[in-house]
Amino acid sequence: MYGFFFYLISAVVIGATAIAITRRNLVHAVVYLIVSYFGTAMLFYLFGAPLLAALEIIIYAGAIMVLFLFVIMMIEIDAPEEVMFSLGQWLPAAVFGLIYVVAAIAMIVETPGTEISLSMLVASPRQFALYVFEHHWFLIEVISILLMVALIGALHLGKAKNRDADGHR
């Protein structure tokens, strides 16, 4: 039962992601990507990690993809023409992709993953927060400063553009 659901949802996730990167209609692509994130969240829930499932939906499906959709709807891109990328563009991508696949297969064959403890994954919100803030508080501060810098940068870009467009602000 458990395994059946796992493979079913995994198939849906992989299928939806594959469709998402091949759609020419960008809004449809975004919708398939949302389906894929939703499936990932369900997998997390299946592992007994409702916290991660909720965060996956709130952050990825709920916030980031809404912004994607928002931008796509605002700027109204026409479906791009059929373009064959040049060899110099897709060859590195193909090579890196291949390395990734080989590494992943080797890793799965070496350690099927069943013996790795998932205790952190299934932790309750309280245990999870205690662990993160006791062991990795410094990293969290660094990340929050990084986000702050990004925020200030975005603010600066927005302001500079405004001034140019109006000419008198």
Binding site: L51, L69, M73, P125
Partner: protein
């Protein structure tokens, strides 16, 4: 095996009961809104179908189901058909973490009076509320109409802006009850509802939840005088009905959340717990209708300024103050 089947039956019964009650109350909220709004505007409101117009919701449902379900030319058919369902289902699912009474015992089994007690119940509500944005945004986009597109974009922008202040306003509540589970939050309010300790959080939550449900004074996504009906301009029949249903279920969910997070949930003297919860939801709904009858619509820049420059900083300050008090005094 037997207990498993019993648990399954109990779950189905609870689901069915909650769904039926939610849909029934939502239908009569429409009636209540039309009647109360009419009184506020010194009119009668619906008074033909049944005594006091009490059969009006039934008549409305029959009308909407029998109307033609049109899909405009050039619309993105699949997305156009799915969008209303997204709005209605996400709104209804939010009710599954709202507890409506203390644990009950039946034949030696403890039955919690909540559909599911997730240890991340509050996050579950946020996840659903952030998914609800898609119904509005995609419905507006798929209609292939300028009014609907503008309404959809406005709706998406408004909902993601106010989600932030809504989430931030609830962090002090989580800090005080030390849990994200809605059941625990209600337990923590035995005798002293959080509204007394967190009046500011209460205020921020009320304003942002009203903006989330896209009602006057925050109904810019469907501003009638400029956008016809906004994101649901092109919808007809029961698909329009689903958008409508979503809005009224949202009012109930909002009432339920407000009751559970700030007003003590089902706690209350003399009356049975379920009745207390319903009374609280009813009062919140009346308040929302009253607001609709009183306030004019905000301008778009006022809406964004209120969300980003007033509510979010206030919520952040509230978190800081709550944390400081918690450290110094302890809850």
């Amino acid at each position: 095996m037997l207990t498993w089947i019993l648990g399954f039956i109990i779950l189905i019964v609870k689901l069915a009961a909650v769904l039926l009650v939610v849909l029934f109350i939502a239908a009569y909220l429409v009636w209540l809104e039309r009647k109360f709004l009419a009184r506020l505007q010194i009119r009668y409101g619906p008074n033909r179908a049944g005594i006091f117009g009490l059969l009006q919701p039934v008549a409305d449902i029959v009308k909407m189901i029998t109307k033609e379900d049109t899909v405009p030319d050039g619309a993105d058919k699949a997305l156009f058909l799915i969008a209303p369902a997204v709005v209605a289902t996400t709104a209804m699912l939010m009710f599954s973490v709202v507890p409506f009474g203390p644990d009950m015992t039946l034949l030696g089994h403890r039955i919690p009076l909540v559909v599911t007690d997730l240890n991340i119940g509050l996050l579950f509500v946020f996840a659903l509320s952030s998914l609800g944005v898609y119904g509005v945004a995609l419905g507006g986009w798929a209609s292939n109409s300028k009014y609907a597109l503008l309404g959809g974009i406005r709706g998406a922008a408004q909902m993601i802006s106010y989600e932030l202040s809504m989430g931030l306003s609830l962090i002090p509540v989580v800090m005080m009850s030390r849990s994200l589970s809605v059941v625990d939050i209600v337990q923590a309010q035995q005798g002293h509802p959080f509204i007394f300790f967190q009046p500011l959080a209460f205020l921020i939550f009320v304003v942002s939840a009203m903006a989330e449900s896209k009602r006057i004074p925050f109904d810019l996504p469907e501003a009638e005088n400029e956008l016809v009906a906004g994101y649901h301009t092109e919808y007809s029949g029961m698909r329009f009905g689903l958008f409508f249903l979503g809005e009224y279920v949202h009012i109930m969910v909002f009432g339920g959340l407000l009751a559970v997070l700030f007003l003590g949930g089902w706690h209350g003297p003399f009356l049975p717990p379920l009745l207390w919860l319903l009374i609280k939801i009813f009062l919140v709904s009346l308040f929302m209708i009253w607001v609709r009858g009183t306030l004019p619509r905000l301008r778009y820049d006022q809406l964004m300024t209120l969300g980003w420059k007033v509510l979010i900083p206030l919520a952040l300050i509230n978190i800081l103050v709550t944390g400081a008090v918690g450290l110094l005094v302890g809850f």
